[in-house]
Symmetry: C2
């Protein structure tokens, strides 16, 4: 992907008032990665609210883009609100939402294969419901149990009491209740022809300052068993960018992706041919990553609130 | 691995009395893969018992080699007995046993890092106990629960109430009760320096004529999160061959591996420099695989009981 990044070193804009003004003037839309940019864990970075206000006051469209699949957009808005960040559901793009959009509007499923078998939490279910996509699995307690000898026989025989013949898609997101039965069912649905989708393939999930299994870890056993990769809907997949564009109808040359991770956020913006990418040093990637890594943003800041220095 | 296989086409011995006699005379020890060779699922192949009797009557040592980690050798002997195959515990080599041997006799663990965190079922626990290896996890019901917000905080903080500081090894086998908490703990133990071992890395487990998640599917999320492969103790890992040799002190040039899978069983014998490898067509690999694949046995039969044709 190196060929897609800026060949010149990114511009360091912290404290550079004229540079900041010039940069901001280039864009009408700002896409924000959230954790590591606006906050870290449960800690809101000082100046986040004021920075978003500055952008909105200057007529900029703000979009929150998250790979978090466990929450719906409504849940995520509540999370933002809880942290003190005003937002609307319309400003939020989660991988659960982009997955639902992809299934309902892009995949052309046969009439009798429209059901989705979900590995994931309530966020995915809410977004599928909002797009009128029928689904099974997910948080249904019937799937939160041990596998039995009877299950093996029924699954092997393709028994319709356990394998719904209308399932045409397996959608795998982060599932805190992942188990052997769910994995076996997902495998057999895909073997029988269902499309293999993943909300996102981040192998880890940051929490409490450490890393935990992410959505990609739910797909990993299936990838190994099937020797097949899923279509992933989260960043840096361009399926997510297409969904965002489909909704906001923005001019990509006038849009800027803001993030803390070079290989997901910045790559997402560069591969999406956005007019700009802005790195911040409050998350995963280091100055070294941004300045001399394979994937470099157009500009970077010590922290997001340094944008306030444009005033 | 192609360079290690016989460059000549394997010899087809079914119905070739002189060829069979000549082949059998070359070996004192026969290592048997089980499922697909002696039986399939719960179905014992006709002639299996008589064939094993023939070998034993001719003074051959018989060893049953299985990657099944959920059973101990004692459990496995019961399974053989249930199928009507006489055997002793001493004739059985399972990946749970070879893992225990590897930990107790080969790994040099520091005094204060001798505990094993187990992902797996009772077979592993029994074999670890038989080698006096201390362990936690496994079938302990305390680990069969949902992850809680408190867990994240404790794990992130390295709290000793949840992360035992004496754990120096993570051993991952097939666990029908795999869950998010177990996966998170395994990840953190390995990040903190524990050795990453897998009983075996078969991605699938055959059952009822279909495939289900195997031990490798338990390691897959960890491999993805850590970007690191485990040391695998099952076939075709030579760690297993070394354990077998350590126990039986056999002359490798006078031993023959019998199996149905070219890329595990036959490879196991070839890489172990055994005097012979014998393929059977009652399991996974086809005649085509044996005759013109990358990994070819020295000889092959339609079915194991064709060895009775030597009389």
């Amino acid at each position: 992907m190196a060929q897609e990044s800026s060949q010149v070193a990114p511009r360091y804009l912290t404290g550079d008032k004229a540079g900041l003004q010039e940069f901001l003037a280039k864009f009408d839309v700002f896409l924000f990665d959230c954790d590591g940019v606006l906050w870290s864990g449960d800690h809101l970075f000082p100046g986040t609210v004021e920075t978003l206000e500055l952008l909105r006051n200057n007529g900029k469209q703000v979009v929150f883009v998250t790979n978090n699949s466990t929450k719906s957009r409504a849940d995520y808005r509540k999370k933002l609100e809880g942290l003190g960040i005003p937002s609307t559901v319309e400003e939020i793009f989660s991988s659960s939402y982009s997955s639902s959009i992809y299934i309902s509007r892009i995949l052309q499923l046969p009439e009798n294969k429209r059901k989705v078998y979900v590995i994931g939490e309530t966020g995915i279910e809410q977004e599928l419901r909002s797009e009128n996509v029928p689904f099974i699995g997910g948080t249904d307690p019937a799937y939160r149990r041990d596998v039995t000898p009877e299950d093996y026989k029924k699954i092997a025989a393709g028994d319709e009491s356990i394998l719904d013949p209308e399932v045409g898609v397996v959608l795998v997101g982060l599932d805190f209740h992942m188990n052997y039965l769910k994995m076996a069912l997902a495998y057999h649905y895909i073997k029988r022809g269902a499309v293999f989708l993943a909300t996102n393939i981040d192998s880890t999930l940051p929490s409490s300052g450490a890393l935990f299994p992410g959505a990609g870890s739910m797909s990993a056993p299936l990838i190994m068993m099937l020797n097949k990769e899923p279509i992933a809907l989260g960043k840096p997949s361009q399926a997510m960018m297409d969904s965002i564009e489909g909704k906001f109808k923005f001019d990509r040359s006038r849009a800027c992706m803001v993030g803390d991770r070079a290989n997901t956020d910045i790559r997402f913006g560069l591969e999406g041919k956005l007019g700009g990418t802005l790195g911040v040093l409050t998350g995963v990637s280091s100055k070294e990553d941004f300045v001399s890594g394979d994937v470099r943003p157009h500009a970077y800041l010590d922290k997001l609130s340094d944008l306030l220095g444009s005033e």
